[in-house]
């Protein structure tokens, strides 16, 4: 309410002072041209004197100017205040010290008034003196003076109001209270309006503050004052009217009026009381729910403190508060923690990216969750499952973070132990498997050799004793054992692959050239065209890598189409942290159903009659690529050609 009035008060004041100036000018004109109806509004009532009109003009102008911001306007209003003060107090002095001066009829001669012609009434003079004084004093900055001004203005309003009532209730001029006995109707009205206007300047002080504040008391005043004033005046007016009309007699009227006053007052005040009670009940409910919520929050806090490691930080991550559990697990004293950041308990276990991700998440206002390894004061480590919750203020800015942690050290240790056990078990199984393949193939050699040996003896010593069929059977046995010997040999090679591997920084172009040199003969026979792109220098297992290239190139030559010569393209491209190599040919291609099968050991797609082989080349390639931690796959179309791609990640020693 007070703010609403404050905002529009300049307009209100301008309108009121404009109205006052207009009225005073009208009255001045009335005196100059002898227009009586302007002077006393109510026939037979007191007239507004010329001096009064002049003072009203000055006052209204002064009040309007006092709301201006410029210093010159301020001084002008002070001067106007002085003029009003002088005229007012001089007129008052005339009454007090019983003399008559030129002032009364200085501008025009009053022929209308019977008593003290031309002189304003004592009340008017007093009010002007007060108004003028207020207009001067209101420009000070002393609080006491300003408060006094507000009270003085209130006094002016009250005097004018009392005078106004006398007009409303049509008290005959002779019966008027002495002090205001000849105040005109418009005089009292203008006094009220002007005094109120000026008091709006310091709306926060005195009676205006009491009326306009946003408190229950002020609201009550705003509701009650207009009611009481209008009710009592209204009832009295009606009473006087009916008594004067002789409708009812005075005694009866007074009783009726009193009863009506009491009844209406009770009803009105009761309505206000009911509303106040409703408001109070609602307020108490709110208060209770607030208390309950607070209590509940307190329980949550207690539960959190008991169960979790809790820390508060400001927006920059500086710790502002921790609970006892935080101190217990980190083994730091509370005073050692507050004011520091969480670097205090950093274990260096996590990399920068980990914390970068954490901060990015919480700065967005989202909750971050994860497991963090921390370091206590005594150097021991502990794992905590952490949730970080950002707190935002009304404008959405993050002003604090809450970190809630659970000790998961035991779980983590168990996990780590389990993981290491698995690794051990896996290593053991792998070694066993390798040993198994090795021994199996080793021992298989012996009986096979005996078969070969004795077939040879048969061939050598008894060849003339065999007929054609017998010789053929011997050859079949011999071929089969040879094939078996090779299979066992490859199995052994496969199981031993990478056993002696050594990582070294190698130029892949160099290895490729060596592999091509080894295959020189078959390349020449097939008249193969090999195109080589730029290859990187990487940490690889050199021997195995050479074998990989060799296998892929020899496959590309072996599986050529009958109608054209092999064209092989070898290239490499970088994909983030790995290199992807491609060996492309224009050979017979592979059907998609076989894309996986070709990498399994001893799996073949063609008969020995079509293409010789043991089904060992690609499984070897796969194993070599996997030794490097990469992947191998094929893209192919039947009769168009195949592209074998494999990745080699960036390895380090």
């Amino acid at each position: 309410m007070i703010n609403l009035v404050k905002k529009s008060r300049a307009k209100i004041v301008l309108v009121i002072s404009g109205f006052a100036m207009l009225t005073s000018i009208l009255v001045i004109i009335g005196w100059l041209f002898d227009i009586k109806s302007v002077l006393n509004v109510v026939a037979g009532g007191a007239t507004m004197k010329f001096n009064t009109a002049l003072c009203f003009f000055f006052s209204a102008l002064g009040i309007a100017l006092s709301f201006g911001k410029k210093a010159t306007l301020k001084y002008a209003s002070i001067i106007l205040g002085f003029l009003v003060l002088i005229i007012g107090s001089f007129s008052l002095a005339e009454y007090l010290f019983h003399f008559q001066s030129l002032l009364d009829n200085f501008f025009v001669t009053d022929l209308l008034s019977s008593a003290y012609p031309g002189r304003m009434s004592a009340g008017t003079a007093f009010c002007f003196a007060m108004l003028g004084l207020s207009l001067i004093a209101i420009h000070t900055e002393q609080l006491v003076v300003l408060k006094t001004v507000q009270h003085v203005l209130t006094l002016v309003v009250i005097i004018a109001f009392v005078s106004l009532i006398t007009f409303i209730l049509e008290i005959p001029t002779v019966n008027k209270v002495f002090f205001i006995n000849t105040m005109a109707l418009h005089t009292s009205l203008l006094f009220m309006l002007l005094a109120i206007s000026l008091s709006l300047k310091n709306i926060h002080l005195g009676f205006t503050a009491l009326i306009f504040e946003d408190y229950d008391g002020s609201r009550l005043i705003r509701k009650l004052i207009p009611f009481i004033v209008s009710l009592s005046i209204g009832l009295t007016y009606i009473l006087l009217t009916v008594v004067n009309n002789q409708t009812i007699n005075y005694d009866f009227g007074l009783v009726i009026s009193t009863v009506a006053f009491v009844l209406i007052s009770i009803i009105y005040i009761s309505i206000i009381g009911i509303n106040l009670n409703k408001k109070d009940i609602r307020w108490r409910e709110l208060q209770k729910s607030l208390r309950d919520t607070n209590q509940e929050l307190e329980y949550y806090k207690q539960a959190l403190d008991k169960s979790s490691i809790v820390a508060f930080t400001d927006a920059k991550g500086i710790i502002t508060d921790v609970n006892q559990k935080f101190c217990d697990i980190s083994k730091y004293d509370k005073t050692e923690i507050i004011g520091k950041t969480h670097k205090l308990i950093n274990s260096d276990f996590h990399d920068r990216a980990f914390f970068k991700n954490l901060w990015e998440t919480i700065k967005k206002g989202e909750v971050w969750m994860g497991d963090v390894k921390n370091k206590a004061k005594d150097g021991s480590y502990y794992w905590v499952h952490t949730s970080i919750v950002p707190f935002k203020n009304d404008t959405g800015e993050i002003y604090r973070y809450l970190a809630i942690r659970q000790d998961v050290t035991k779980r983590k240790e168990a996990e780590e132990m389990l993981a290491s056990q698995y690794v051990k078990k896996l290593e053991q199984k792998n070694a066993e498997l390798e040993q198994f393949a090795y021994i199996a193939s080793h021992d298989l050699q012996e009986p096979l050799r005996s078969v070969t040996n004795f077939v040879n003896i048969l061939v050598e010593d008894y060849h003339d004793k065999f007929d054609e069929d017998g010789a053929k059977y011997l050859r079949i046995i011999s071929d089969a054992t040879e094939r078996m010997r090779n299979l066992i040999k490859f199995l052994l090679d496969y199981s031993r692959l990478g056993r002696e591997r050594k990582l070294s920084l190698v130029d892949c172009s160099k290895i490729l050239q060596e592999a091509i040199a080894d295959l020189n003969e078959s390349i020449n026979i097939a008249e193969a065209d090999i195109e080589i792109g730029n290859l990187p220098t990487l940490y690889v297992f050199e021997t195995e890598m050479r074998q990989l290239f060799q296998n892929l190139i020899s496959n590309a030559i072996k599986f050529q189409r009958k109608d054209c010569k092999p064209q092989i393209k070898i290239s490499a491209q970088k994909l983030n942290d790995t290199w992807m190599f491609s060996v492309q040919d224009n050979g017979i291609g592979i059907a998609p159903t076989h894309f996986n099968r070709i990498f399994q050991i001893f799996q073949r797609l063609h008969t020995s009659r079509e293409y010789q082989g043991y089904g060992i080349g690609l499984p070897n390639c796969k194993k070599i690529v996997e030794l490097h931690g990469g992947e191998i796959w094929v893209e192919s179309e039947v009769d168009k050609g195949s592209t074998f791609n494999f990745t080699i990640p960036k390895l380090e020693l």
Binding site: H442, Q445, E446, S450, N453, F454, K489
Partner: protein
């Protein structure tokens, strides 16, 4: 002298040697113990002195390497002139490494012994 637990292999190797006419006597033993016994007794019982020993590694009981350990403890005149270790598989780097470390081993070859292999050995050590 042939030391091999596999009688088939012994038979085959003996046949190669006899056929090539490189040796007067071929002694075959199926265990390391028997072979050591023979070497110890050769002087007293006027047995043929082995100039060349073909030794198999993969034998039950005492294997080839354990045999060599015992063999090294014999008096020089009890020992043979040359020991050729016969490896079961040509590409067996583990066995080859141990063979390289053992000074008493003259050479190592892959099974089976062939006529060409035998001629090469005789040319190298006896001519």
């Amino acid at each position: 002298m042939l030391v091999d637990d596999n009688p088939d292999d012994n038979f085959f190797h003996e046949r190669i040697i006899k056929k090539s006419g490189a040796a007067e006597v071929v002694v075959t033993k199926e265990t390391g113990y028997e072979a050591l016994e023979y070497l110890k007794l050769q002087r007293f019982e006027k047995l043929a002195h082995p100039q060349l020993i073909f030794l198999d590694i993969n034998m039950p009981g005492m294997n080839g390497w354990e045999f060599i350990e015992e063999y090294n403890k014999l008096a020089p005149d009890q020992q043979g002139d040359h020991v050729i270790v016969m490896l079961t598989t040509s590409k067996n780097p583990d066995d080859r490494q141990i063979a390289n470390k053992n000074a008493k081993v003259t050479d190592f070859k892959s099974k089976p012994l062939t006529k060409e292999m035998l001629e090469e050995v005789i040319d190298k050590y006896f001519v």
